[in-house]
Symmetry: C2
């Protein structure tokens, strides 16, 4: 965890020295943005989409003008990979509003704190093992997703307690025989939205269905790519609103995020789901997309 080298405010520093002031607003209030990325073969997958979302989040927080350019950030990510001698890696870019005096209202002229950390994460891909060991075990939690009216749902911020509380519910409900590893989060009207760190897809009656980005969820970059891949396959795609019954009765279901890529769902609220052909097809297509983006010139 404290091995290797971290890129902190423009400099590479040993991980054990990579620290931020106790007065940093990232620590005081979670006042910042982040992105989780994967590098495959030394290249960052879907960088443009992640950089665009990072900028949008910083705009929502009102400090985008003070943040280094996407090109500078990309240079820092690549420098971090190189300094740690990593080709296949998990990368996290974190940008806080920086150190300011102790008032909640942000002061003008912020000096953001910019952190890039990376650690080894083997690719998996078509031939290797995926990051996840088993299909996901889902459980519906009482914790509801924060509504868009309180914090814009498409901002990826350092305020992540909503998802942590959902995961703590799973921990508290776990037994020796049964432990869920992803939470199903709903809005106040019981509409299914997403997992704590993943988007959710079901295959239902010959179509691929996922909660609409109009709902109060973070529409992930992997989700967007999977929707594209399904359309390329001429598989019927629908984004909309559905409840727990649709998920529990699904022919197949899977989760997407940058780290897991496409991860089949094995169990929903104790109900076994079949591992089906559409999930397998989309996993393969996603691996081919990575192959094309990161290994071909």
């Amino acid at each position: 965890m404290s091995e290797g080298v971290v890129h902190l405010n423009g400099e590479l520093v040993p991980a054990e020295e990579a620290a931020v002031s106790v007065h940093d607003r990232g620590l005081r209030y979670g006042d910042g943005a982040f992105e989780t990325l994967r590098a495959y073969g030394g290249r960052v997958f879907a960088w443009e989409a992640h950089a665009a979302r990072l900028e949008r989040t910083c705009e929502t927080l009102g400090f985008a003008d003070a943040v280094p350019s996407a090109a500078t950030l990309q240079d820092r990510v690549l420098a971090t990979l190189e300094a740690n001698d990593l080709a296949d890696a998990y990368v996290r870019v974190t940008i806080t509003r920086g150190e300011q005096a102790g008032k909640l209202t942000p002061a003008p002229d912020p000096a953001p704190t910019v952190i890039v950390v990376a650690r080894s994460l083997p690719r998996g891909g078509l031939a290797g093992d995926p990051v996840w060991d088993e299909p996901a075990v889902l459980q519906t939690v009482r914790t509801r997703r924060i509504p868009d009216a309180a914090i814009p749902a498409d901002a990826k911020t350092l305020n992540y307690l909503n998802g942590i509380l959902a995961r703590l519910e799973l921990q508290r409900a776990a037994t020796d025989e049964f432990a869920a590893d992803e939470a199903v989060m709903r809005d106040g009207e019981d509409t299914v939205l997403e997992g704590a760190t993943s988007n959710l897809f079901v295959v239902d009656g010959g179509r691929l269905l996922t909660p609409s980005a109009e709902l109060d969820l973070l529409p992930g970059i992997t989700r967007e790519i999977v929707l594209e891949l399904a359309r390329e396959e001429d598989f019927p795609v629908e984004t909309g609103r559905f409840g727990l019954d649709t998920l529990r009765d699904a022919d197949e279901a899977f989760l997407t995020n940058t780290t897991w890529e496409v991860r089949p769902v094995g169990v929903v609220d104790g109900i076994d789901l079949e591992r089906g052909p559409i999930t397998s097809l989309l996993r393969r297509r996603y691996a081919e997309r990575v192959e094309a983006a990161c290994y071909e010139d």
Copy 2:
């Protein structure tokens, strides 16, 4: 800001060296709790109530068992005041889940990060100047308070973007002639709840009215003391549910929090409010309560 001495994980360190790892979950996710305190004459006001809430928040986050005892925390607060040669001070105690590997689900056996910072804040009190310069200028914002179902409203956590977004709305709406300094936050049904960092009281038709703690708000410790003081004065008190009209039509209104104590409201959404006798009375009673608690044996 980086002057003086900070109490970090049991040791007093120079502020410029007081830093936490980039892998700390407080920074990665806002995964932690805090309390804002005031010291008067070298004593911490309402310590028991703050310590109890801090413990409750850590219980909500599932790491209370790993946190130092309230007595130990109080010792650290007093040591921080002494090391900085402070008698009248703002104090913040921050406790994060600590450094863990990069997964959202908390790992077992946390080693929390415990931070105490203090800086000079003159008392004000009966004779001196209050912390605030002028009566508060309130403006209703679009940003809605996070519902209790998403994050328990009575937990005081490091996830404070909801309030920051409310304050950013005020900044964006400010002109040379007009700038509000506290936001009026509502729930999804337009019920008035609280400010970004304060509780809200109105005097309306001969009674003191404040949003009920059953609603999705953080019922502050100063709020509780003010309710006690009003009851001691035999002034009719009501906690309930009301909308913007009640606030705008109030005979008087004031805000409470640990730092501001009791702060009159001068303007609500551009409407001037009278500064009235009940607010003045409660300010005086609060100052006397501080006097009794911190200056008498």
